[in-house]
């Protein structure tokens, strides 16, 4: 698309001179055009955003102040749902389960991912094969992953107990009340460690090489380089990963549904699982369901804000 004389507006000779009111009119028109264009380009996506995200968030607040069922009438009950929440066994167990789940899975995911990334960033050949293999579990839908793990954790013929027997131990009931939540968390580690490993690899490759050369010349050991260079340099990246991985961990649902059906008992019933149960498996629980949802949403919003502050700090600081 070259500059074409036929399309070009005639170039004014010398400076363009306009009367002041003419000038104002033109710039007002241009500004108006900009407003219309901007909103026109934004509108299709923004409408979907408002209808299916902003309104539901507000809707959750509205529902959380009411009692009743999905189909029947609901009435306003104020903050009653929130006041009752800690005493409703199912709801508080769901919150506890989700927190424990995140507390087990997030540190394992991130420490594992960081370790893999440190190795992966420094190997000279074959990196793409490892990347492919390590990332593959990330692309497995939770439902399918749970199905595979259902298999592996089977008491009689599963892979896990096969290994345990091979080592001379007694078969373990992996999905029993003692271990189910841990197994669910480990399953999450399997699915997410590759994602964060590759995320960290990109960050490590981006670190300034001169610092490492200088450190090596000074005779710093590999551990010292990790402790005093890599980790401090990646502090913000790691914190970002902690926040995002935690937010994702709080949403666990599909693997719990397929692997353990929330059980045994309510041992693996998570927050979203409980909301779903209250919606379709119970009557008159819609207010409580919304109240737990709102707790989850507010938690996620707070974590998002922490992260935004952090990123703003980065832009201003180093």
């Amino acid at each position: 698309m070259g500059l074409d004389a036929r399309v070009m507006p005639a170039a004014p000779s010398g400076r363009l001179r306009l009367a002041p009111e003419e000038h104002r009119r033109l710039s007002r028109n241009r500004r108006l055009k900009r407003e219309v264009l901007g909103w026109a380009f934004l509108a299709p996506m923004f409408l979907c955003f408002v209808i299916f995200l902003v309104l539901p968030v507000l809707g959750t607040v509205w529902w959380s102040l009411r009692s009743g069922g999905l189909a029947g009438d609901t009435k306003f009950v104020g903050l009653k749902n929130f006041i009752d929440l800690p005493d409703i066994v199912g709801a508080s167990a769901a919150v506890t389960n989700t927190l424990v789940f995140a507390l087990i899975s997030v540190p394992l995911i991130l420490v594992g991912a960081l370790a893999i990334a440190l190795l992966l960033a420094r190997i000279e050949r074959g990196g793409s094969i490892y990347r492919f293999l390590i990332y593959f579990p990330v692309l497995v839908p939770g439902v399918v992953a749970a199905l595979i793990w259902l298999f592996m954790t089977n008491v009689d013929f599963g892979l896990f107990n096969g290994v345990v027997r091979g080592l001379g131990g007694k078969p373990v009931v992996w999905l029993g009340a003692d271990h189910a939540l841990t197994v669910l968390a480990i399953l999450d580690v399997w699915r997410n460690v590759g994602y964060w490993a590759l995320f960290f690899v990109a960050a490590i490759i981006g670190l300034p090489k001169e610092l490492y050369q200088a450190a090596e010349l000074d005779g710093a050991s590999a551990f010292a380089r990790l402790r005093y260079l890599t980790l401090p340099l990646m502090r913000r990246i790691i914190f970002f990963a902690v926040v995002v991985a935690t937010i994702w961990g709080l949403q666990v649902f599909d693997t719990a549904l397929v692997l353990t059906s929330g059980g045994p008992g309510t041992a693996t019933t998570t927050v979203i699982y409980r909301v779903w149960l209250y919606m379709f498996g119970a009557t008159n629980k819609i207010g409580v369901a919304s109240a737990i949802s709102l707790v989850l949403i507010v938690t996620i919003l707070l974590l998002t804000l922490v992260q935004m502050r952090l990123l703003r700090g980065r832009r201003g600081g180093d």
Binding site: P9, V54, P137, V143, F253, L301, T304
Partner: protein, 284 residues
């Protein structure tokens, strides 16, 4: 010690470290991939072989009954079609809408754009799973439960794409669009004929992100549909697990079959897939 010896020792040391790294990474990769081999193996065994101990490590002769069962006696093909139909629709629509919104946010100075962007960032992480109560009542109020619309419309709300596209478009040099403007191109033509071709790599990455997210999505499709005809892959498999009784052969065949398409995509578009991991970094 001569310099030559010294150098040789260093090379040897480097090789040994490299070998150590390969050893650990190989082990990690093996552990991460082993479940896939395990399930592939199981899918090629009949029900007595699955339960036998010690397990056979090679499925010879392979048994294809599980796959036959899956393809002809369950709704698997229908689930697969639904997943692909919904994921493709969402991807095409969303790439288009998000790039337009990203263009507006990056290049057009209109009132409220900062506020819109801030709102998108704030709500970026709110998952659809936390919104199922109001979403369900809204979508069912619109009479859309058990339609493809119910599966396609709500995912369009996710602001990640618009934020990414804004970032990509901000990186383009201003001269290009100014030249185009002098050429008398309309704003839409600038977006369509200049900006879109320039951010093609970004569009592909975005498409991969949206498609895989849709392929894996479960919570909303579970709630938005009750009829068998509209079940997507993840919902169909969960229903099979919940209602069909324990049929490990069938389950493993369905796991393998649902991983084939995503595995092929991954193999072909490896770079774009791996850029998914970087999308988080891009957000910064």
């Amino acid at each position: 010690m001569t310099a030559e010896q010294h150098a040789r020792i260093r090379v040897r040391q480097r090789r040994r470290r490299e070998f150590g790294r390969h050893l650990v990474l190989g082990l990690v990769a093996f552990i991460l991939v082993a479940p896939f081999y395990y399930v592939l193996l199981a899918s090629l065994k009949d029900s007595t072989e699955i339960f036998s101990y010690p397990p056979k490590l090679l499925p010879i002769p392979p048994y294809f009954g599980n796959y036959r069962d899956l393809l002809w006696n369950t709704g698997f093909l229908r689930w697969m079609f639904n997943t692909f139909f919904v994921a493709t629709s969402v991807t095409v629509l969303k790439v288009f809408l998000d790039s337009m919104a990203g263009y507006a946010l990056a290049k057009i100075e209109f009132t409220g754009r900062r506020l819109v962007f801030l709102l998108m960032i704030i709500l970026l992480m709110v998952p659809i799973g936390a919104l199922i109560v109001p979403l369900w009542s809204m979508v069912s109020g619109l009479g859309l439960i058990n339609t493809y619309w119910a599966l396609i419309l709500p995912p369009l709300a996710n602001p990640l794409g618009a934020i990414l596209m804004r970032q990509f478009i901000l990186g383009l040099p201003r001269d290009l669009e100014n030249a185009a403007r002098l050429d008398g191109l309309s704003e839409f033509a600038i977006y369509w004929r200049i900006v879109l071709p320039l951010i093609k790599p970004g569009l592909v990455v975005l498409a991969v992100i949206i498609f895989t997210d849709q392929f894996m999505s479960f919570t909303w499709p579970l709630i938005a549909t009750t009829s068998d005809e509209l079940q997507v892959l993840t919902v169909g498999i969960a229903a099979m697990r919940a209602h069909g009784g324990a049929n490990y052969g069938l389950w493993s065949a369905s796991a393998v079959m649902s991983l084939v398409p995503i595995g092929v995509f991954f193999f072909v578009l490896q770079r774009q897939f791996l850029a998914r991991s970087l999308a988080g970094a891009l957000k910064q």
